[in-house]
């Protein structure tokens, strides 16, 4: 629906705004030598302007269909030319019927005959009014688009903040913390030096993830360092069962990604993959940059015969949502469960820090 008709309070100001046009039209009709009396010109101009006001509204649909974008300019021009001719013909037709109707009343005797020489001028005015209406409608469309854009931006900002909040909440991962503290307690008497080292690693990890959680983007190298600190802590619990292989090309290190994207995935790989296997396994992280995109692959083995542990889906969904909040459809995220391996593939635009 047309924005002017969409709200009842808008129509009257719009029609009032058209009245100066009616005055100009009346002056044009009653110009000296045309043989039209002032009252006759007014009686013609006011209804005709009102009629055009409504015809002009339909121009909006033409404008919406043919926005001047890219190579569409010629098509838009043709559409508007056809529209202008059509509406002007209709308008002149209305004028003729109106003049004939007035002519039935004696004060307007012979109005149609006297107006006939002005038919072409009226047509030209119709075309001019069409141009005016089109311009007005384009302005309205532009305003609407700007408004939509603002709203979309606000929605995205809310989505991003929600996702970040969820990520921060996930930071309080009780399972990981309590298990790590239990390991440190175990080391305290058997190997005090290692217990001290573990306290440092755990604190290091907590500090880094808290700091990262406050930012909107961090370099990939930092995110990888965070994941590594996490794996350092976990290696205490899992010992030889946990191995890590990292393959990162030089060009990727400076690319920016939202914080805490890789680390939760690595944590999933350990918790649902390595921990499910008696013999443990290797978590592989592979990062490649090429063709303007950053591709991250995380792979881990898992034991298909082990009971499933709750919570795997939440971490994955959170990462997917945060990537979407930043890049929309430009971000690709896929998680795939093969017979005994789990794969997560991420592809996002490669963006360097400004």
């Amino acid at each position: 629906m047309h924005p002017i008709l969409a709200r009842p309070g808008r129509l009257n100001p719009y029609l009032a705004g058209c009245m100066p046009l009616a005055a100009i039209l009346a002056a044009l009709l009653a110009r000296p030598g045309a043989g039209i009396r002032i009252y006759e010109a007014v009686a013609m101009a006011v209804p005709l302007t009102c009629a055009y006001a409504f015809i002009g509204l339909s121009v909006w649909y033409v404008c919406r269909e043919f926005r001047f974008k890219g190579g569409d300019a010629l098509r838009s021009l043709v559409a508007h030319a056809v529209g202008a001719i059509l509406t002007s013909c209709i308008w002149v037709g209305i004028a003729a019927v109106l003049a004939a109707a007035w002519g039935l009343w004696s004060p307007f005797d012979g109005l149609l005959q006297r107006l006939r020489p002005q038919g072409l001028a009226l047509f030209a005015v119709g075309v001019l009014l069409y141009v005016l209406a089109a311009a007005l409608n384009y302005v309205l469309l532009a305003l609407e688009a700007a408004h939509d854009g603002e709203r979309r931006e606000a929605e995205l900002a809310i989505l991003a903040r929600d996702a970040q909040l969820a990520a921060l909440k996930a930071q309080i991962r009780p399972h990981f913390l309590f298990n790590s503290l239990n390991s440190i307690a175990a080391l305290a008497s058997a190997d005090p030096a290692r217990a001290q080292e573990m306290c440092v690693r755990l604190s290091d990890f907590l500090r880094k993830s808290l700091a990262a959680g406050e930012k909107t983007a961090i370099p990939l190298s930092e995110e990888l360092a965070l994941s590594r600190t996490y794996l350092d802590v976990e290696s205490l619990r899992f010992g030889d069962r946990l191995a890590v292989e990292e393959d990162l090309d030089e060009k990727s290190a400076a690319c920016e990604i939202p914080p805490l994207i890789l680390q939760p995935l690595v944590e999933n790989a350990v918790r649902h993959g390595i921990a499910s296997r008696v013999e443990g396994g290797t978590v592989r992280v592979n990062v490649v940059r090429g063709g303007g995109r950053l591709r991250i692959l995380i792979e881990n083995p898992f034991d298909p015969d082990s009971p499933s542990r709750p919570g795997a889906g939440i971490g994955l969904r959170n990462v997917r949502e945060r990537l979407a909040a930043r890049w929309g459809a430009e971000a690709l995220f896929a998680a795939k469960k093969l017979t005994d391996r789990f794969l997560v593939v991420i592809s996002v635009p490669a963006e360097k820090a400004a």
Partner: protein
């Protein structure tokens, strides 16, 4: 403390993380009457160790490879007293509270372990040991169902995924589980098993029979009101009047 000799307690430690086993060993080692039978890194090892020398008390982690803590407990002798040792698991803790099972949250103080051991011994003496299957059922988040059934045959462990279970039959204190042409016996009531299975997929068709709906080939009228279910493996299972009503409401 005093000179009076307390009977020794044999203990099994089951945790897949070496440091977690180490600290349990350390704290339990401070209690004079404790005799640690074995430290196991997974449920299979625990079943094997318990088959050699049955323990009095078992300290169990929940999240472990191959078999989780609940499944491991199901495979041990019913008389064993269990103490669950876990880091954090809201559902499990709720389950322990409703089924009055001893549990300790990691990390813990040595006194906490000593107290849990005392309570476990007391429970063992008074023979109050809740059914492991019921604890596991209470620990499952609402709306989720048993995915697999573990059965022990001597020191061998069978894992039956529920989608391979054809039917189950109550036999005295056991349930006979039919899967892939074999029947496995497990100490459990049919009611307790039925309560753990998805009621949309498994139907109690008779007081002592349960079938998987997908395995139902056809129904034959038998005596007045009762039927016989012919299953896809060719076996015939009696269907009571109530069981028939349950089947009908599911199939409609």
């Amino acid at each position: 403390m005093s000179g009076e000799a307390r009977p020794s307690v044999s203990v099994l430690i089951v945790d897949d993380e070496a440091p977690a086993r180490a600290i349990l060993r350390e704290y339990l080692g401070r209690i004079p009457e404790v005799r640690i039978l074995a430290e196991c890194a997974n449920g299979f090892e625990a079943v094997k160790a318990a088959a050699e020398t049955p323990p009095d008390v078992v300290f169990l982690d929940i999240e472990m490879p191959k078999l989780n803590g609940f499944e491991t407990l199901e495979l041990l002798d019913p008389g064993v007293a269990a103490v669950f040792v876990t880091a954090y698991d809201a559902w499990a803790v709720k389950a322990f509270e409703v089924s009055a099972v001893d549990y300790v949250l990691k990390p813990y103080a040595p006194e906490r372990i000593a107290a849990a051991l005392d309570r476990a011994i007391e429970r063992r003496r008074s023979r109050v040991t809740p059914s492991p299957a019921d604890i596991a059922a209470a620990a499952r988040p609402e709306g989720t169902w048993l995915e697999r059934i573990v059965v022990r045959d001597g020191s061998r462990v069978h894992v039956i995924p529920v989608e391979k279970l054809v039917a189950a039959e109550a036999q005295d204190d056991y349930v006979g589980l039919r899967s892939e042409g074999k029947t496995y016996l497990k100490v459990q009531t049919l009611a307790s098993l039925a309560a753990s299975l998805d009621p949309k997929r498994f139907v109690r068709v008779h007081r002592s029979h349960l079938i998987r709906l997908d395995c139902l080939e056809r129904l034959e009228a038998y005596a007045k009101g009762s039927h016989i279910a012919i299953l896809t493996d060719g076996s015939r299972v009696p269907v009571s009047r109530e069981g028939h009503a349950r089947l009908k409401s599911l199939l409609e």
